[in-house]
Symmetry: D3
Subunit: 241 residues, 6 copies
Amino acid sequence: MLIRPDNRAANQLRAISFTPGIAPHAAGSVLAAYGDTRVICAATLEEKVPTWMKQQCVKGGWLTAEYSLLPYSTLDRKQRDIVKGRLDGRTVEIQRLIGRALRAVLDLSKLDGFTLWVDCDVLQADGGTRTASISGAYVAAQLAVKKLMAAGKIKESPFTDSVGAISVGVYQDAPVLDLNYLEDKDASVDANIVMTGSGRFVEVQSAGEEATFDAAQLQTMIGLAHEGLQTIFRLQKEAIG
Amino acid sequence: MLIRPDNRAANQLRAISFTPGIAPHAAGSVLAAYGDTRVICAATLEEKVPTWMKQQCVKGGWLTAEYSLLPYSTLDRKQRDIVKGRLDGRTVEIQRLIGRALRAVLDLSKLDGFTLWVDCDVLQADGGTRTASISGAYVAAQLAVKKLMAAGKIKESPFTDSVGAISVGVYQDAPVLDLNYLEDKDASVDANIVMTGSGRFVEVQSAGEEATFDAAQLQTMIGLAHEGLQTIFRLQKEAIG
Amino acid sequence: MLIRPDNRAANQLRAISFTPGIAPHAAGSVLAAYGDTRVICAATLEEKVPTWMKQQCVKGGWLTAEYSLLPYSTLDRKQRDIVKGRLDGRTVEIQRLIGRALRAVLDLSKLDGFTLWVDCDVLQADGGTRTASISGAYVAAQLAVKKLMAAGKIKESPFTDSVGAISVGVYQDAPVLDLNYLEDKDASVDANIVMTGSGRFVEVQSAGEEATFDAAQLQTMIGLAHEGLQTIFRLQKEAIG
Amino acid sequence: MLIRPDNRAANQLRAISFTPGIAPHAAGSVLAAYGDTRVICAATLEEKVPTWMKQQCVKGGWLTAEYSLLPYSTLDRKQRDIVKGRLDGRTVEIQRLIGRALRAVLDLSKLDGFTLWVDCDVLQADGGTRTASISGAYVAAQLAVKKLMAAGKIKESPFTDSVGAISVGVYQDAPVLDLNYLEDKDASVDANIVMTGSGRFVEVQSAGEEATFDAAQLQTMIGLAHEGLQTIFRLQKEAIG
Amino acid sequence: MLIRPDNRAANQLRAISFTPGIAPHAAGSVLAAYGDTRVICAATLEEKVPTWMKQQCVKGGWLTAEYSLLPYSTLDRKQRDIVKGRLDGRTVEIQRLIGRALRAVLDLSKLDGFTLWVDCDVLQADGGTRTASISGAYVAAQLAVKKLMAAGKIKESPFTDSVGAISVGVYQDAPVLDLNYLEDKDASVDANIVMTGSGRFVEVQSAGEEATFDAAQLQTMIGLAHEGLQTIFRLQKEAIG
Amino acid sequence: MLIRPDNRAANQLRAISFTPGIAPHAAGSVLAAYGDTRVICAATLEEKVPTWMKQQCVKGGWLTAEYSLLPYSTLDRKQRDIVKGRLDGRTVEIQRLIGRALRAVLDLSKLDGFTLWVDCDVLQADGGTRTASISGAYVAAQLAVKKLMAAGKIKESPFTDSVGAISVGVYQDAPVLDLNYLEDKDASVDANIVMTGSGRFVEVQSAGEEATFDAAQLQTMIGLAHEGLQTIFRLQKEAIG
């Protein structure tokens, strides 16, 4: 029988919360918590678009995501990226994933001429930092959009749907939901599922590092994620108000 | 009715081939072709392991993959990474993916003290460069292992299975196999499936950029990939000899 | 008559607080607030010393400080250092200042073989981020030392005194204490005073950008700082407990 | 008596060939072989000129060359430039040499507004990679010019002459032509001669690393190169067609 | 009783000189000597302003300072910055200090559209390189302004005052003036005082590394500096002519 | 008839001098002047060898050269390398050339365990900076060797010969010696000849940028250089003493 390190059932989420207002200078901000994982998510608006859009004559606006582990977020202090002089591969993957997830529920034509930045800085890392970042980034971006619409900077909301994310994996041969750090490092398969509030997938990423998985396991993991995300969508809605 | 730009059926692969010996100084090498996509894949052995393995006291060997688009592989000349001073995010993601795919079918303890490098340089890009790279990298690495075993540098083959990859996607609302560049840039969903010869998944990556997909579409895409990979496994086996 | 933007008297501090526990994975952490300026200060211990100490055969331990403005801490989003590829000059100056300030009240021989890292990440910037960082860094480092002594990792406290910092300046021709952002950007002279709890100076930095000052003004500014720091020392003591 | 490792006479070239079409996405491409040395040479056209030309108000077009050793081209795997973060000095010298050689036979005013890129990527290195690159780059550039003229993108050929290169050196006290890797690493003097089809020098570079040479030796080396280049000019002409 | 390594009195300067014309291609240049410390100071004019001035619509001109230790200026050869790939923190602080010092005596509106560069390259370092740089940079900049006015490139002198700098410190418990290297490395307090010819402070920087100081010591140090700077102002005036 | 900008005969050197002692902290130093070209050359000894020598188990010592244009050496201020973040190609070529030239007259086994650094910093550039650097670097290195032998740090001189360099070129269709900047920028062929005191070549580099040359011109240029170098060898000998 499966015993998870924190005694959760296989389909049980950790305590999840979204606390708005953590960074008042941002247009929208939230402290996203998935158990002991804490991420500062903040959205700010810039009145210009990336250079490549101008060069390639792409119309509309853009959303860019940045992700970082603060040095004291991990049990062993993590060196800052600037000290190493480059972003590590994991960080690059995560910030691209956050960006794609948010853009999938945005009508970028309604951000014409603007870049919406979403910054995700991990204050404490205990597994699932990328999924907490996506869910929190959506809340921060929605709060920013509301404030910017109230201020007349954006006319119409660019959001077409909501978006959230959760991790699933195979731990001790059993598919489980929302892995914490202890589970994550021993999992044979690690998956991240990004879905919209209307029930469609934005991204399914399932990988076995030095391990493999079969179609049945994939099916079960996707089911667990779908179920867990319903709670997250509800909590996001409450935080946005 | 679906009409693909090159008139293929939805479940039809492009012409696929693996031509060994393209880079004779490497321990193993192959020119992998998926239609007009051509990738030079080469495997070389280095008698040391990455620094992090020593620092973290990890035993065994390692496999590292590097991927690059040669400047003349694309229709518009692509600037070399060294000119920009950094790898772009897409390249980082692809070389991490190739590495994970190969390591999933390796028993690294049998490479004790060695790093097996697999280099994938795209000579011509027409969609599917990452999947052609994975399938070709496996062939190059197997050829290298055979040569290194013959030379007595490795005692026992570290391979536990074979591995191959193929792209699938949703193009004009229809799931299709092995997208070329024209299809890839218009696809609403883009997926890459990495499987072992024994029929297990190593990686499932399915993403909609500014689009979403449902569970049925995911199921169909996975089925197409599974079918197409049987041909690729056969061609790999012939190339390895 | 002087009217400060927030109606404070010339010798009046903003609301100042030190809230411990903001980053639980660190050995010690605190959220330092000087009015609307908020800095996450965290101290972590690493069981090695910098390379230069080994090369130059310097005995004892070390304390290194890092400082960063989170992108959403300023009214206009600040680009991350890693995007520009280098630390700007202001950041370099500030992290050197924080390090010197803390080391001035440490007996480094009691940290033999260890590096104490203090990280200061500005969550909201409204003037005085470097002084809030120093005062907060001292609290975080003391909390870390207490925890590490309780855990037996450090035998004896390396602290020989306490340390705090406050800004003073010449605003509308009048010397004033603890400038906020609006005052700072219009001040003709900007000074930062770092003192120990026992009343000695660690650092006096007074500079006029495109302006100058005389000996009498310097004297008054130093007096204001001395007075204001007494409150800060009391609040630090309460936070450390 | 001189015995060369591959039994060639002192004035004998290795097997030399130029095989067009290796990289079909380029405007012109060729696989240049000097014995076991293999270089992919490709020419592409970009409809803009370098920034410095605009800043300095230089009229006409430009030709830029880039050179790289693919990691598996050498007997020990060569680290990619991007991993080291910079081009090594040897690479910089070679790409400057290739560029000067080609520009010496170009009327740049006939490339007005365009940059012709020639990329030389070494697939297998066995001595003479820079001379094979120059000779191959000329063929690739001519093929590109023919195609671009046929497509109406360039009105008139910018070429005023042909250009080729060959190495000579002093090996076991004897001047020899077209050194392979074994000869190159033991040569006391290493020279590269770049000539035009009409028999004029573009570049003479003769250097002794930890050795010297006299005027007679220089004379003999130049004679050998002149003779060998006649064959290369003929093979280039055949490849261009 | 205090004995200084070179037997100077506590309030005695080293031999100080400013020799014009060291770098004839610069608009103004001087070799500044403070004892064995030698700095090449050169001022050049560029007909453009920094990008940030244009972006922030700041009117007028600018002065930028750069500082470097030549590799052979120190007793152990100092690696060039370009080899390390970045400026060290000390260099960044010093060049910011030189720039602020000079700008404090400039009316930048009279340099409209221009950047005045002052370069300070240390030929020999024996303590006080930053103060010698400031005093020398002022001379070089004045010489440049005179030459540029004579040539009609600048209409009116932008200088509003003169500026000079000197170090003071606490050495063997005694405040002393103009520390050489031996004193500097053993000083418990290190201060740099920048003043104008008219007797006002531009910058007061006083720091104890692993030590502290009191108000009386600060007062004495400032007095010593004020006295010593009178000689420096006279020597500067003679060099400018 | 040829008229050179400074009225020299075709075979006439500019005023050449070597003034020792410019950088007293270096083991050996000299200010080398070729007309208005001025280069600070300094040699310092480091008691370690480059990493690559240890990795490749190469015995003996090494000589490394570095070259830089000081920002105020050119008529338009030259940006420092560290600001651009990389060495330009020309600088890389020149420092490799200086290193090869010096090593050709050194018995590196007599520098066992040491690196001799030669730094060449151009104070004023008026053509021929690389040849002045080589000739000056030899003098600085000899002065350093004498001092290090006197101090017992080196037992035996590693020098086997002397070395000097001079430029030649084709200016207004005539071969000329020792080109200044005005001649250099209009020359159709630019050559640098490095010779030993005993009359052997170390390096012959002759290049036409967008031009070519014939065998007779090459012969004449080499003759001019040979003749001019006799004067330089004599002046070097006097400076070394």
